[in-house]
Amino acid sequence: MNLLDKASILLTPTAYDTTELLSIKPDDGGGDFDFSRPSSAERINDSGSFETMVSNIPRIDYTSGTASFLLEPRTTNLYLNSATLTTQDCSTPTVQHGSEYTVSFYGTGSITFSGSYTGSLSGTGTNDRVSLTFTVSGSVLTSTVSGTVTNAQLESNPAASTYIPTTSSTVTRREELCKNAGDSSLISGTEGVLYAEFAVSNLFDQNSSQKSTRCIGMSFNTGTSNALFMGINPNNKFYFFFKANGSNVIFNQTISANVGQYYKVAFKYKSGDTSIYIDGQEVLTSSNSFTISQTLGNLAFNFGTPSFDINIFQGNTRCVAVFKEALTDAELICLTS
C-alpha cells in the first residue's frame, strides 16, 4: 500500500462549503472540519485578484502563487477609505500583545508618519504590496500621503495580514477557527502519524492575553490529558507535545523555525517508538512506553477541543494527513521530503 491508500484523513486546499472545510479522505465527510469566521474576508484567488469571501467561507489563498488554506486572527484596519488613502490621523493605543503596528499598501506613492511613530514607507508598484512594522509611543499616528497609495492597511499586528477594505469607518475581520474533524474510527488510540505541510505567519490570536503557539493537533474531545500537537511557538521554535494518560511522552520546544517557511512535519506515535520528522530528517525520538487512556477523536487547527480554542494555528497549510499506523522510517522520509 502507498501513503495515499494508508491515510485515514487527508486534507488538501481543494473544497469547501459554508462552515465546512472538506477533506478528500474519507469521502463520506467524516474527516471534514468545522469552520467559522463571523465576518467577510479577502483572499487572492487563482487569477491573482482580490476576492471577497463572505462569512464562514474558508479561504484558499494563492498569494504565494500556489494554493494553501489560510487562517488568520481577528484584525482591524484602522485606516478609513482604504481603497485610495488620504492623509489622516489614527488612534494607536497599546494593545494586549504590545505596541507593534504594521502599515501596508499597494501603489507607487508614499506615507510619511509622525506622532506615535516617525518614519516613512514608499511604494514600489501598482501591484506590489509593501509593509512596515514599527513600535508606537503615543496615542495618535498621523499618516501623510503623497502620490498613489491604494488598498492601505494599518493594524495592531507584528506583520501585515490580508487586506481589509474600509470606507467611512474601521472594519474588523473576525477570527477564523477550523476544528472538530474525525473521530476514533479515523484516529488510532494506539499508534499512528499526524502529518502536515504548513507555514506559520507572524500573527497571533487576539483573544489570547499573550502571543500563543500556532498549533495543529488531535486530542480527546474534552481535554489534553491524551493529546498530540505540533506547531511553532511565539519564539519561533517548533512545538511538539504528546501526552498519554496525563504523562508527557514528548514535550519539546528547542528546534528553530522560520515564519513564512513551509515545513513538512510528521509526528509518529507508538509506545516505545515515537519520533518526529521535519523535511526528511528525523529530529526527535522517544522510547517511552505509553498507553492512551482516552480516544483521540478530534483533529483541529488549534491546541484544544470543540469546547475551547487556544493556541490557534495562524498561517498557511497545504496538506494535513492522519495515518492509523506507525509508518516506517522510509515512509516518513518520503512523506516529509
Partner: protein, 65 residues
Amino acid sequence: MGYGEIYKTSWWGSPIQYGWGGIYYDFTTNDSQIEALLTALQTRAANYENVIGTTEILTELENCT
C-alpha cells in the same frame, strides 16, 4: 546512472493527469485512485478548485510506497 534508474529518481514515467506530463497520462496504465477521490470530493463540494495542485499532492503520496 544505470538503465531504468531515471524512473526511480524523477517523475519520468509518472505523468500527472492535470499536471506534469499530463499529455501522456492517457497512455499510462495504473490503478491510481486519484481521479476517483477527486470526483467524490467534487460531487459533495459546493466550492471546488486547485485541481492541479491537489493532484500533485496526491501523486506525491501515491508515490510513497
